[in-house]
Amino acid sequence: MKTTELVDKLAANLKPVTPLPSLPRRLMVWGSVLVIIFTGLLCLVGARSNLREVVFTLGFVGETLLLVFAAVLSAAVAFTMSVPGRERSYTRYIPVAVLGVLICALLVFSDRGVISQNALDILKAGHMCCLEMLILSIVPCLVIVWMLRLAAPIRRAWTLAVGFMSSALFAAVFMQFTCSSTGVGHLLLTHMTPVALTGIAGALLGRRILRWELNSREPIFDEKETASEPREREL
């Protein structure tokens, strides 16, 4: 097929599209969905028993604010990366840096008494937290995948890794209100490990899940045969 023919075909198949909403709007939608999900869940599950005692402590407020900040920032980076030409070369490293800062801050803010515990003991005691966080991350991950697929991410692996990290960080915020443990070892091993795991899962799945070139169901893609994607049914 000649390029002029393709141009004619593309133009003939043109349909009006709604431009992607701006970054703040997408963030607001994402945040609203998560707030609704987690508030509903909190009403169902109930808050932690010692919430009244810790809610105004510096440690709790600091941790929660940092987690919210990291989650929102990660989501903002994922949404930015999903639009071609908007990303700077350093953008994708921001969430990783923030996560590093968050871990350092946890060490500063949190109760230091538990840090001396054996990591294996902490994991054994808190493995349910780890599991809960992974389960809690599933729906937000699905929501962010849907939102990212509306755009056209160039770096698919990074974009989904950061998006999944954001989802897990929101789950970590939720856990702040339901998990009674305050030990820094517990927070680092059972609340931050799922964040890292979901990030890795995003990096592994991103290339497949966020393939926007094949998303379109417009007729042109059934007819066009390219070097990169020849029609399988003919082979």
Binding site: T4, L14, V83, G85, A152, I154, S228, L235
Partner: protein, 208 residues
């Protein structure tokens, strides 16, 4: 490898995306407002604006890809891939933002994607071709003759398109272009069919 020296940041898709690739953005930047305006109208469904946009983009992208891909016969294919990607991603262009970085990010991504695929295909094909050459050179021996017969027998079992592409190019010695013209397939498709035919043959012979 069909890539020219592409400058910093071009060697891997996972490296930093510059806002506008060096030495390639002048054309778009000069027409940035016009192209952005055409895309805005295209998003509303204006066919004429879209056609004009794609025609302008074709020539700009042709120059952009031509500087990065050595094999000139492939430039059109890459440009077409980019145009399809632009078509798929047109909803992500935001009114009022510069058009150049948006389109070049897509162009760069598709060009690198193409180059990677070509280098993978090239590596695989060269291995098979060299083994075929070895087979032809030593066909005086009876075992080599048997091997050749086996290969030809397996060729007949290939799917129609693959068999046709392989026979015309590798056995009859026609060029990709000639086969494309005769069969009505695109050149890119012929290459892919040949590549897949060789892969299928290899599997068949390994399984034998």
């Amino acid at each position: 490898m069909h890539v020219k020296n592409k400058g910093p940041g071009d060697s891997r898709a996972d490296e930093g995306v510059e806002q506008v690739p060096a030495g390639a953005g002048s054309e778009v930047l000069e027409e940035d407002d016009l192209l952005g305006d055409l895309m805005n109208r295209a998003q509303d469904g204006c066919e004429e604006s879209y056609r004009e946009l794609l025609i302008r983009l074709s020539s700009i992208l042709g120059r952009y890809v031509g500087r990065r891909v050595y094999d000139k016969s492939q430039v059109d294919d890459v440009v077409q891939d980019i145009l399809i990607a632009v078509h798929s991603a047109r909803a992500t262009y935001q009114s009022g933002r510069p058009f150049g970085p948006w389109v070049y990010a897509i162009a760069r991504y598709k060009t690198i994607d193409f180059v990677r695929k070509q280098s993978r295909i090239g590596r695989r094909e060269s291995v098979v071709e060299s083994s075929q050459e070895v087979g032809v050179a030593s066909c005086h021996t009876s075992s080599a003759l048997t091997d050749t017969r086996d290969v030809l027998e397996q060729v007949t079992r290939l799917p129609e398109n693959q068999r046709l592409a392989l026979e015309e190019t590798k056995l009859k010695g026609k060029t990709i272009k000639q086969v494309a013209e005769e069969t009505g397939m695109s050149e890119a498709a012929v290459k892919v069919y040949v590549h897949r035919a060789i892969g299928s043959l290899r599997k068949m012979l390994e399984g034998k």
